[in-house]
Each structure stands twice: as C-alpha cells, then as structure tokens.
C-alpha cells in the first residue's frame, strides 16, 4: 500500500510537470527541452527558502513559484524570438547551464552535495508529513494546476497562443504582440513547474543537480507526447503511463542495474513510435 502511495505521489508531481510543459509545447508550439531546469529552479528555491530561511513550506512554495515564474518569463523573453530549431537548441543549452550553475555555485546551492533535510509541509498544527496526507496535498495542488491550465487554454488568451502555434506571422499581422504572449505562457508554465519542484524537494527531503539533466527534460517531454499535445487531460494520462511503466518492468524481473536504462529506452521508443504513428498521443485529438 505504501509503495502504491509513493507511486501515486510521483504521478501527481509529474502530472503537474506534464500539464505545465504542454502549455508551452502543445498549445503554443514552443518546443522547450529544459523543463527539468525549470523544475530544478523551483525545487532549489523551495529547498533554500525552507531550510536556510526556515520559512513555512507553503510560503516557500509561493516564493519558489515566483522565482521560477520570473526566470521562466526571462528565458521566454530571451529565447522565444528564435525560430523553432534554434529555440529547442537554446533550451537544451539552457538546461545545461542551469545544471552547471547548480553544481558550481556552491555557496548558494551546496554544489553536488545537494541540499538535504528539507522539511515536510506543515500548517500550524497540521502536518503533511504522513505519506497519505502528502499525497492528498499533491492531488489538491494538481487539481489547482489542472483547473488553472483549463482556464488559460479555454480563454481568449488560450486562443491567441494556439494561433501563435499555428501561424505566428498571421497572429502578428492581426496586431498581437506575440512575444509578450510567449513570455507570459513561459512564465506561467514555469511557475507551475515550480510547484512540482517544491513538492519533490519536500517529498524526498533532498535535492541535488543530478536529478535535473537533459534526460529528465526528455522524460517530461515524453509525458506530453504520450498523453497528447494540447490536451490537459492527456498529460495526466501520459504521467500515469510513464510513472507506472517502470514499475511493470520491476515485476517483469529486470535486474536493478539495467532497469533504469530499459526505462530510458522505452521512453525513447515511445517518443519515436508516437511521432510516427500516433502524433496525437493517447487521448489527444490534435495532430501535431
């Protein structure tokens, strides 16, 4: 039972990541292969606020969202002027830079040693340390993110970003400041990823740079691809599929050493197969 809860919590965290990335890739057409870096910024910001400044978890989370959101807007502003391939490459290089900073700016981040002793959430007398309560908290936050994402995509703002995905030139001709829209969605997606980051940091109690490399960004991308672009529910399905998949492997009896690699291979295969045969993902309707 407790292991199931563990998986469910991971599902919740990655679902938030999938939904937030989908806003960028699926809805706006920004192929951002650095969501792990955004996630990392949230995780580290939350960890630092909660440990070094001993702030309450929820306050730390709000501040972390702010930090991640601002940084996300900034990178959105710098990078989203670039055309497709360049944006993607810039995002990969950004991921690399962020990890490098996390490893090398030791006075702030403790370098490769990471930050440990990150407390579990609490609100006065109420503590969320117990796994079941933590999972519920995750679910509630997922619900909020989900609702926010639905709201954004169904609004007129959502229509504009979809137009940007389809034909940015046309959107510009119609007078929309497309850059500002891209900056806004980058910031919003980043703030959401920040939530996931703080949750993960608190859940494991430890963060270090190695969890946030380009491979992790590819994993989050796979969640979006498998679930379906431009489909918020799809990202939930994608997260469910990709978090459960390695567990099935465990039962299939793969030895521990190669399990992680088999998992990576399956994510890669999933990306390939979906792009070839089902670009709309499992439950998407939108064909990328």
């Amino acid at each position: 039972m407790s292991y199931l809860l563990h998986l469910a919590t991971f599902f919740g965290i990655y679902a938030i990541l999938g939904v937030s990335l989908n806003l960028l890739i699926g809805y706006t057409g920004l192929v951002w292969i650095a969501h792990a870096a955004t996630f990392a910024v949230g995780a580290y910001a939350g960890a630092l606020f909660a440990t070094k400044l001993a702030l309450n978890f929820f306050l730390a989370m709000l501040l972390a969202m702010l930090v991640a959101g601002i940084l996300g807007s900034l990178t959105g502003w710098i990078f989203s002027r670039l055309g497709g391939d360049y944006y993607m490459l810039a995002s990969v290089s950004w991921n690399y830079i962020v990890v490098s900073v996390l490893i090398n700016w030791e006075s702030l981040t403790n370098g490769p040693l990471g930050i440990s002793g990150i407390p579990k959430p609490s609100l006065g007398e109420l503590s969320f340390a117990e796994p079941t309560k933590f999972f519920l908290l995750t679910l509630v936050l997922l619900g909020i993110v989900y609702a926010a994402a639905r709201f954004i995509t169904n609004s007129s703002f959502g229509r504009v970003i979809k137009a940007i995905r389809e034909d940015e030139q046309a959107a510009k001709v119609f007078g929309y400041n497309t850059l500002m829209y891209k900056v806004a969605i980058s910031g919003m997606g980043a703030a959401m990823a920040g939530i996931a980051g703080v949750l993960l940091a608190s859940y494991i109690g430890f963060v270090d740079p190695s969890s946030f490399d380009v491979m992790e960004s590819i994993f989050i991308l796979a969640i979006v691809v498998v679930g379906g672009f431009a489909n918020i529910r799809g990202s939930l399905v994608g997260a469910l599929a990709l978090v459960l998949l390695p567990e099935l492997l465990r039962f299939a009896g793969f030895p521990a050493e190669i399990a992680a690699h088999v998992r990576l291979g399956l994510y890669g295969l999933a990306l390939i197969l979906f792009m070839l045969y089902r670009p709309q993902g499992i439950i998407g309707e939108y064909k990328f």
Binding site: W94, V225, L264, G268, L269
Partner: protein, 289 residues
C-alpha cells in the same frame, strides 16, 4: 601567462576544435539536406565508439576495429533515416516532430548502449598506448595528432567531394532546394539516405577519436552533439566552412576561458557562447541572413 602554459592552451584548443569539426561536418551535412536538428547525431557517434570497443574486445585489431566502428555508425545513421525520418518526410510532418523523434532515437540508442555494455566509463585503448610529443612546450599525444589529422583530411575530402564531383553537386542541389531537386529527377529520399550514411560515418569517426582520447561511456553522445550543434550555429548553419570556424572558435573560447574562470565552468562556456550568438547573431559567423 607563461609561454609553456600558453602553448598548452593553444594545443588543447586546436585539438578540441578539430574534434568538434568532425562532428559539425556530419551534422551540417545532414542539416543541409533535411533542415532539422538531428539530436540523435551524438548517439550515432557513441555507436561508432562502442563499435570499436566491441571489436577490440573481440580481438579484431585496431585498423579493422576502426573501420568496423565507422561503418556501424554509418549503418545506424541510415537505419534511423529509413525507419523514422523518411516516413516522417513522406507524411510531411512539421519540423518539431522530427526533432522530438530524434530525441527519442537518442534516448533509445543511449539506453541500448547502456544495457549492452554497462553504464560505466571504459578507456578505449590500453594504458600507455601511443607516444606523447612535445610541441613548442605543449604536451600532445599521438591520438590528439590523429584527431587533428582526421579533421583536416575529412574537411578536405568533403570539400573536394562537394565542389568537384557530380555527387557533390547533387547534395548541394538537394540542400539548396529539395523541391527543385526532385523536379530535376533526383531521388531525394534515397540521396538523403546516402547523406545520412556519410554524415553518420563522420560522427562515428568523431566518437571513435574522442573515445581514444579519453574513453567511452554511453552518455558521451549528448556532449559531442551539443558541441557540434553549438559549432554549427555559431559558424552559421548550413555552411561547412562556418562550421569549421565555429568549431575552432568554440575550442579556443573554452580552453582560454578557463584561464579566467574556474575550470569547472568549462562545460557551461559552450552554452554561454551559444546563447550569446543566438541573441545577437543568430545567423552565425558565415550564415546568410
């Protein structure tokens, strides 16, 4: 800065530039024909290196192993084109689809290497192989000279191929405008396959030489690819000469940069350079507007 140290930095820069040149040549070749950033290119390079690893372990002897490694890389490259990119071209998928698929191929290839050979780092040559030369105060190993030589040879051969042979003209026509090339009767799909083969062999060579220089690890592909991609963009995507210039610029900036910054930041320098170029001169040194 002391003269010996300066000479060593120059040597390190030149070798790095040469290695990146090999990657960027293949990368640019493929990009020219297919117009997307093939993220699997680095993994193909790793394949070449592991081809040699496997062959030498089986006792094939160095020259044969190298040939085997280069061929493995070329074949893997063509397979990725036949199985994935060609069908996508036929479906007229948009560029992001290609890129995402190539990311998938990269992850898949890397995991295959990890599963088959294990994730740890292996030197490709037995210790103590090869001489070390002293050139103007800098220590340069035999392998490093091979890297430089290969880069020069590959650039030369490619240049001659593209400029003076019909084959080269076809490639250039294809890169210029695929539609027109088709109209001229060129079987563009098959040609792209050939280009993948060539470009991937170059990647394989780069991977092999990098393996000789330090060693092999399944994750080696990403780093090589990024250096190659940065070189290409900085030099101007689509321009082979630009790619070479970009590669050497990158090599020099990285190695001289660490004189001023702590050496652990070296990896980030490449990406810093890329970011700067992307913001201020996205078309690169030699790129056309």
């Amino acid at each position: 800065m002391e003269r010996m140290f300066f000479a060593q930095l120059v040597a390190n820069s030149v070798i790095a530039g040469a290695l990146y040149t090999l990657i960027t040549l293949g990368f640019n070749l493929i990009y020219g024909a297919t117009k997307f950033t093939n993220m699997a290119h680095g993994a193909v390079a790793a394949m070449g290196a592991y081809g040699v690893f496997f062959a030498t372990r089986e006792g094939w002897g160095l020259p044969l192993s190298i040939v085997a490694g280069v061929l493995v890389a070329g074949i893997v490259g063509v397979i990725t084109d036949r199985l994935v990119f060609s069908p996508l071209r036929k479906k007229k998928a948009r560029a992001s689809v290609f890129v995402i698929a190539s990311l998938g191929i990269f992850a898949l290839l890397q995991s295959i290497l990890s599963i088959t050979f294990g994730a740890q780092f292996w030197p490709l040559l037995p210790p103590g192989t090869g001489r070390v030369f002293d050139i103007a105060g800098a220590s340069v190993t035999e392998v490093q000279l091979w890297i430089l030589g290969s880069a020069v040879a590959a650039s030369g051969i490619l240049f001659i191929l593209l400029k003076f042979t019909i084959f080269g003209k076809v490639i250039r026509a294809l890169s210029d405008d695929e539609e027109v090339a088709k109209m001229l009767g060129i079987n563009t799909d098959r040609m792209i396959g050939v280009i993948f083969f060539l470009g991937s062999m170059l990647a394989g060579l780069a991977g092999i030489l990098s393996g000789f220089d330090t060693g092999v690890q399944p994750t080696m592909g990403l780093f090589l690819l990024l250096e190659g991609a940065v070189s290409s963009i900085v030099g101007g995507i689509g321009s082979l000469v630009g790619g070479i210039l970009g590669a050497f610029l990158l090599g020099f900036v990285e190695n001289f940069g660490i004189w001023f910054i702590a050496s652990q930041w070296k990896g980030a320098i490449a990406f810093g350079l890329l970011t700067i170029f992307l913001i201020f001169r996205p078309r690169g040194i030699m790129g056309k507007d």
